[in-house]
């Protein structure tokens, strides 16, 4: 093969590879306009175009090239796309090329080639591990103002977008018998075996092309080229009805109960996602069995200048040559401690790349390597090492090689293909907490205890031969299917030879010249490890944190093993004893948008719409979020400019004539059964079993610790039927609490309960004209006179021509008031009917603000007062606590601390200056005392402008409150510089006798 026929892709091989030369794709990298082919990644296309410098490192801004061909890439990170779609830190090695792709280099200024911060390299001796912990302490104020901003600007790699991500994301669930993670030889064999046995199989591979190393090596399976066998296996799997192939899908996390998280890149290979499809889909896969066949990640040998562009992992070199038909160099040196050297040399030579030398760290270089070197015309350096990769910004220009006698030779080259062996991809085996185990023979961490249901096969299990990967994968797939009750009729395992995989551990070249990097992205060098050890950071986890080894976007996939080995050496311990830092999800970084899925923007949380919503929207109501509900806050009328104006009008209209408010959002619970009364007696502090049918009563619920949980009115609709209401905010909590009380504490009670919040559209009709309006709505011959239907009456009615509804004579506003309920489907019609019936009486609709004003005027506690910190005593409800029966919270509520008269209790306040405005959250301080914590005697919870009184009023909690009516105190509000002198009074401001309710 020859390099470089198409002039625009000088390093593209003329033949071969799994790219489609008929489909050229244009793309841009910085200021270079380039062409690649379908089937390329950005990395392979850059290689084909001879682009070597692709990024800058984190700390020293050193020039970096492409190291790998997979998601483990630490160096070749780019900003992909632009504007709100800009994706920083995207690995060029995983970006599927598409027409029009645009990528920019990052972490450099002003340009990739001329990066001024590269001067950091000069200061490297002073910027070693943990240097910032030792300095920048003086003067103290300089940290935020000077040092920190400088450090932050220099660090941080790419730039995030600044506008909302325009692409959609989805979440999805999947279930299977056998989940196969990885579609290399082991995974394909596993999926085939399980699928043929009839199991439901999901096969995920993060690559867009299944096959793993089969696509990267010139090998065979059976009588076919390996890549062709892979394609056939995929075709066979695709034809099985219960097998799901998920390409472009990385399994990134293992969670409890056989739950696997996987990210599918649905539209990332397109300029923008197709219409109606997400950019990415975040899968939760529940699997009965799992076969982890994630392969292995090659690791470099650490030597001087090993981070220069042009130093590439040998396996990646073969991937670029064989799969992408792109030559990463013209003149190569191969450097390895294992048998990979042979195939790498042979593949390079076959592609027309000159192999200047094969440097093998081992004393006994096996025949295969010798022969490959010989065939390639390469110098073989046994027991040799590369002491330094020399070169410049644009990459390696030569290798300084030292042989076993210490003699140096300088060989020109633009590519160093390096292999330090392989680390099985075992991250997922550790996500539930198991520690990996060091295997001396393979010089690698192998899986320790496995997550329940998981088996590991192929290179991930430390079996590096192709033949055994296939066999093991097949067996794992068949075993999994069999364990789930399928018969083992999986056919024969595919066969192939095991390639030689001999290795002698060799981690770093001790006599390296120049900086030798262990962690490329975070610029952690061997000398940093040494310094950390000197500073006392000898435990693996300490080394990691002190040097940031393995903390970069690649999480140490290529560097960690060598890092641990270097640490072991520096502390004279075996690698096994040093151990390994903890693997944590996600296996590859995952877009935050994908975790959010549909739940963003307005869909962040579902919105609950009240029955009158459409009508209120038509009227131009202003809505407010109350929990997940959207409620009308007020209904502005033409000419009104200020919310207070609208609200005041609504309150006045209600108090003077009549108003209507949608109160359907209150929690409503049907409590039924022979023991319903007994049950309510136990969950409410006051008594309900004595409530007559056709009546309602205010009820107070405590938590078992004696503090107030919730309040509401409960009506008795029948001997065995109560209708409970809760506050809007606590509806779900109360339902859960009741079910707990019933099922756990008193299972012997014959009581049933169900939420009917949604069933009933309920409107409060309040004001002196309320009766007339209600009477007009009810079908004839239903008497709503005060005598027939007095305050707190409750019962069924028929409304507007036969609709079965309910009527309650309840009042939150303090006026003559009713709540009328109809089945929710009639809610829209009923509000319109109420408006029509009320028109002659001047009815006004009122929203939550006016509702709030009126309840404050009446001194009714609501959310701000029922804040979970208050007791019945604080609210003035001490009398409600029944002494005759046990109820939830009774015992603990009686503790002295909860009834201490010194506690703050509910009071009303009004400003001494009638024009003064009150603000919630002010604290009460005695009139002439200094505003300080020693004098803090309580706080203002709720405030309102009372149209009837013509001034602001407030509710609050004040120490010894009831004894202090008439006293003037300060509502101190230093936060808003708005102290107000207020007079303490009873919390009920209007009609304290309740005369209006009872008319």
């Amino acid at each position: 093969m020859t390099i470089g026929t198409p002039t625009d892709q000088p390093s593209r091989l003329a033949f071969g590879g799994l790219i489609d030369r008929r489909l050229p794709l244009r793309f841009r990298f910085d200021d270079l306009e380039l062409t690649g082919y379908a089937g390329d990644t950005l990395a392979s296309a850059l290689i084909a175009n001879d682009v070597k410098l692709v990024g800058r490192s984190f700390k020293y801004h050193r020039p970096r090239g492409i190291l790998t061909a997979g998601s483990e890439e630490p160096n070749a990170l780019v900003e992909l796309r632009a504007g709100p779609r800009r994706e920083p830190n995207t690995r060029a090695t995983t970006i599927e090329l598409y027409d029009g792709l645009a990528a920019d280099s990052q972490n450099r200024w002003p340009s990739l080639r001329h990066d001024l911060l590269a001067v950091n390299q000069l200061a490297a001796p002073f910027l070693g591990a943990g240097f910032y912990y030792k300095t920048f302490m003086w003067p103290a104020a300089f940290w935020e103002k000077v040092y920190e901003p400088a450090i932050r600007r220099a660090a941080g790699l790419g730039r995030a977008a600044t506008a909302a991500d325009p692409d959609p994301y989805e979440k999805a669930f999947a279930f299977c018998d056998v989940l196969v993670i990885g579609g290399g030889p082991a995974g394909l064999a596993a999926a085939l075996a399980a699928g043929r046995a009839g199991a439901r199989v999901i096969l995920c591979d993060e690559d867009f092309l299944a096959g793993g190393r089969l696509n990267a090596e010139r090998r065979g399976v059976g009588d076919k080229p390996a890549y062709a066998w892979a394609a056939e296996a995929v075709a066979e799997l695709a034809a099985m009805p219960d097998v799901t192939l998920m390409p472009r899908t990385t399994v990134y996390g293992v969670y409890d109960g056989g739950t696997y998280a996987a990210i599918e890149r649905v539209g990332d290979h397109l300029p923008v996602p197709a219409p109606h499809t997400p950019r990415q889909r975040n899968w939760k896969i529940v699997a009965k069995r799992t076969v982890l066949a994630a392969g292995a990640i090659e690791r470099p040998i650490v030597f001087g200048g090993n981070d220069r562009p042009g130093v590439m992992l040998a396996g990646a070199v073969r991937t670029y040559l064989n799969r992408f038909a792109a030559a990463p160099g013209r003149r190569a040196v191969v450097f390895a401690n294992n048998d990979e050297a042979a195939a790498t040399t042979a593949d390079l030579a076959a592609a027309g790349v000159v192999v200047a030398a094969v440097v093998d760290t081992r004393r006994d270089v096996p025949a295969a390597t010798r022969e490959a070197a010989k065939a390639a015309g390469a110098l073989l350096v046994a027991e040799g090492r590369i002491v330094e990769a020399k070169g410049g910004r644009r990459g390696v220009r030569s290798a300084l090689i030292r042989n076993r006698d210490g003699r140096d030779m300088h060989l020109a080259c633009d590519l160093i293909a390096v292999s330090g062996g392989w680390s099985p991809t075992i991250q997922l085996t550790s996500h539930l907490g198991a520690k990996p185990m060091w295997d001396e023979a393979r010089a690698a961490q192998l899986p320790g205890a496995l997550p329940p249901g998981m088996a590991v096969a192929g290179a991930a299990a430390g079996d590096f031969g192709l033949g055994s990967c296939l066999a093991e994968g097949h067996a794992a797939g068949a075993d999994a299917a069999e364990a789930l009750g399928h018969d083992r009729s999986s056919g024969a395992a595919p066969v192939a030879d095991d390639e030689p995989a001999g290795l002698a551990p060799y981690w770093h070249v001790k006599d390296s010249a120049g900086k030798a990097f262990v962690d490329f992205q975070n610029d952690v060098s061997v000398s940093d490890v040494a310094l950390a050890v000197r500073d006392g950071f000898r435990i693996a986890e300490h080394l990691k944190r002190y040097t940031t080894l393995g903390m970069a976007t690649d999480q140490g996939k290529t560097g960690n093993t060598a890092g641990m080995a270097v640490l072991a050496e520096a502390t004279a311990r075996p690698v096994a004893e040093v151990g390994m830092t903890t693997f944590r999800p996600p296996y590859v970084p995952v877009a935050i948008g994908a975790f959010a899925g549909h739940h963003r923007g307005k869909a962040f949380r579902p919105t609950r719409l009240a029955p009158s919503h459409a009508w209120a929207a038509e009227r131009g109501a202003v809505f407010v979020e109350t929990g997940n509900w959207l409620r009308a806050q007020w209904y502005p009328e033409a000419g009104e400019t200020d919310w207070l104006e609208s609200v005041t009008r609504e309150v006045k209209g209600t108090r003077e004539r009549v108003g209507v408010c949608d109160v359907s959002t209150l929690g409503k619970i049907d409590v039924q059964g022979p023991d319903a009364g007994t049950f309510l007696d136990r969950v409410y502090a006051n008594t309900f079993s004595t409530l007559p049918v056709g009546k309602a009563r205010y009820g107070l619920m405590l938590r078992e610790d004696g503090f107030v949980l919730d309040d509401g009115t409960t009506a008795r609709l029948g001997e065995e039927h109560y209708f409970m209401t809760t506050t809007t905010a606590n509806a779900v909590k109360v339902m859960q609490h009741l079910e707990y009380c019933h099922q756990v504490i008193w299972p012997d009670l014959d009581v049933q309960m169900v939420s009917v919040t949604e069933q009933w559209a309920q409107y409060a009709i309040a004001g002196p004209k309320a009766r007339a309006v209600v009477a007009a709505l009810l079908d004839p011959s239903q008497d709503v006179s005060n005598e027939a239907f007095p305050y707190l009456a409750a019962g069924p009615v028929t409304v507007c021509g036969g609709v079965a509804g309910r009527l309650y004579r309840l009042s939150f506003s303090g006026e003559l008031a009713y709540e009328i309920g109809v089945p929710a489907r009639y809610g829209d019609a009923l509000i319109r009917a109420i408006m029509t019936a009320g028109a002659p009486h001047g009815i006004v609709p009122y929203g939550t603000e006016a509702l709030g004003v009126m309840r404050i005027e009446k001194g009714h506690p609501a959310g701000n007062e029922l804040n979970g910190q208050t007791t019945a005593h604080d609210l003035g409800f001490g009398k409600l606590l029944s002494k005759k029966k046990d109820f939830i919270g009774r015992f603990m509520a009686a503790r002295p601390a909860l009834t201490d008269p010194g506690r703050t209790t509910l009071v009303g306040v009004k400003p001494v200056e009638p024009g003064a405005r009150l603000r919630g959250g002010a604290h009460f301080v005695p009139r002439d005392a200094t505003v300080s914590s020693e004098n803090d005697q309580g706080y203002l919870t709720s405030v309102a402008f009372s149209p009837e009184l013509g001034h602001w009023i407030g509710l609050g909690f004040l120490a010894n409150g009831p004894e202090r009516y008439g006293e003037v105190i300060r509502a101190a509000d230093p936060l808003r510089s708005a102290d107000v002198m207020v007079e303490v009074c009873a919390p009920c401001f209007i009609d304290p006798e309740g005369a209006r309710l009872r008319v």
């Binding site: 912990y133 300490h542 999480q555 903890t582 962040f604 109350t626 503790r895 959250g921 230093p974 936060l975």
Partner: protein, 428 residues
């Protein structure tokens, strides 16, 4: 504590400074010595502090402020392996209730002088902590809190939505399900580099003669005649005149060794970091309509977290529902982070107390002291917790700012329940 002044570490040779870095750098960085020793545990100490989080600060102040000399900190794993090394680094004193406010403010003040005190750059970054509110009642609740702070002489500002927009333009002001209406800002709040706090206290305590014993697990508490006289460990017994527990997440387990039952459950809290990016967010921001809070680390990652997983756990890892919930909050707050990638997630064991507030107290066993129940908020407390616990141990009476953190408050009902959730630890 007013008399905390910068103090030269005993080990002057190893004083850290720009100069020492320069000098060492020129000499090939060969002159550095370990930040702390690795001593074998002695047979007996005056005080054995168990747990190397708050325990390190406790030992440091015992030595520095209370003049004790014969102290060990016993840690079952590596220094900083507990929550002190896995939290989201937020420090603030924007508390509401009188039991808490002065304590956390003392801590804030100690942070402000910490680096000079310890001669260690812990990157105390007072970049401002903002709690967003999204409704009028929430605004009132924050106003109540802000005023409580101001009454205690603590800085607090109530920002309206325009001020918020100016400070943090990347937040969603235009298409939010729960619109941002403003925020409570404490400018002195911010972040402190978690690991540096461990190492700084460790180094400074060591310099004052404290023995720091790593990889040493306490397996029993020796009680003789109703008095704690030492601990059993996997490296043998250690006698002690006083035993002090600061073993967050394991408090129930270790206290049970002395027959005690605590008002505590152990829960998991997860945290997350994204890939590094250029400066994006200058403050610490807490979303008020969901569980999400975030800051940007000096390395560039957005460090964020949210709610507890919600079930008892000693597994130090969590599950997906919370990851999703937190990221939903993140997207709701900052829709530009959709394409930023979550790099790593982890968990810590939260010592969740029944009212969400800590315990620093003597126990019914004489000579046994307890520091526990820090929930998800004890990192910011590290200096004050150490100081107050040291005070309690040395003087046998509570430090004046920590008098509310008593064990008997649960029985009496004088709970310190900032959230009003009652005796339900996973809701605090």
């Amino acid at each position: 504590m007013s008399n905390i002044t910068p103090q030269t570490s005993q080990n002057d040779a190893m004083r850290y400074s720009a100069l020492s870095i320069l000098a060492n750098g020129l000499r090939g960085n060969r002159g550095w010595t370990p930040a702390w020793r690795e001593p074998e545990p002695k047979a007996e100490y005056d005080v054995v502090v168990v747990g190397a989080g708050h325990g390190l600060a406790t030992a440091y102040y015992l030595a520095k402020e209370y003049g004790l000399r014969n102290i060990a900190v016993i840690e079952r794993s590596y220094l900083g392996s507990g929550n002190i090394g896995r939290n989201t680094t937020i420090v603030r004193s924007n508390y509401l209730l009188p039991g808490n406010v002065p304590f956390y403010e003392l801590s804030m003040k100690l942070w402000e002088g910490l680096e000079q005190d310890l001669n260690y750059n812990a990157m105390v970054s007072q970049r401002g902590v903002i709690n967003l509110f999204h409704s009028d009642p929430q605004r009132d609740a924050y106003a109540r809190r802000g005023n409580a702070m101001r009454l205690h002489g603590i800085d607090a500002e109530l920002l309206d939505v325009e001020a918020m927009r100016a400070m943090a333009p990347m937040l969603d002001f235009d298409n939010a399900r729960f619109p941002i209406k403003g925020g409570l800002l404490q400018r002195r709040g911010g972040t402190v580099r978690h690991d540096a706090v461990v190492w700084g206290y460790g180094r400074a305590a060591d310099a004052r003669g404290v023995d720091i014993v790593q990889n040493c697990e306490v397996t029993g508490i020796t009680v003789e005649a109703g008095r704690a006289v030492g601990v059993e460990t996997n490296r043998g017994p250690i006698r002690a005149k006083k035993v002090a527990l600061a073993v967050a997440g394991n408090s129930s387990q270790v206290a049970a060794m002395a027959g005690l039952r605590l008002p505590i459950e152990t829960h998991v809290l997860q945290a997350f970091v994204t890939e590094g990016i250029k400066p994006f967010l200058d403050h610490v921001v807490t979303f008020g309509a969901g569980h999400f809070y975030v800051s940007q680390s000096d390395k560039g990652g957005l460090v964020f977290g949210g709610d507890l997983d919600g079930y008892n756990s000693y597994a130090q890892r969590g599950n997906l529902p919370v990851v999703e919930d937190v990221c939903e909050g993140g997207m709701a707050l900052m829709p530009a982070i959709g394409r930023l990638r979550l790099l790593r997630s982890w968990g810590g064991l939260m010592d969740m107390s029944m009212d969400g507030s800590p315990i620093i107290d003597r126990t019914p066993v004489q000579g046994l002291y307890l520091n526990a129940g820090w929930c998800y908020g004890g990192f910011k407390a590290t200096p004050a917790s150490g100081l107050c616990f040291a005070h309690l141990i040395a003087r046998d009476e509570p430090h004046p700012v920590a008098t509310a953190y008593r064990l008997d408050r649960f029985a009496s009902g004088r709970v310190i329940d900032e959230k009003g959730m009652g005796a339900q630890p996973n809701l605090h």
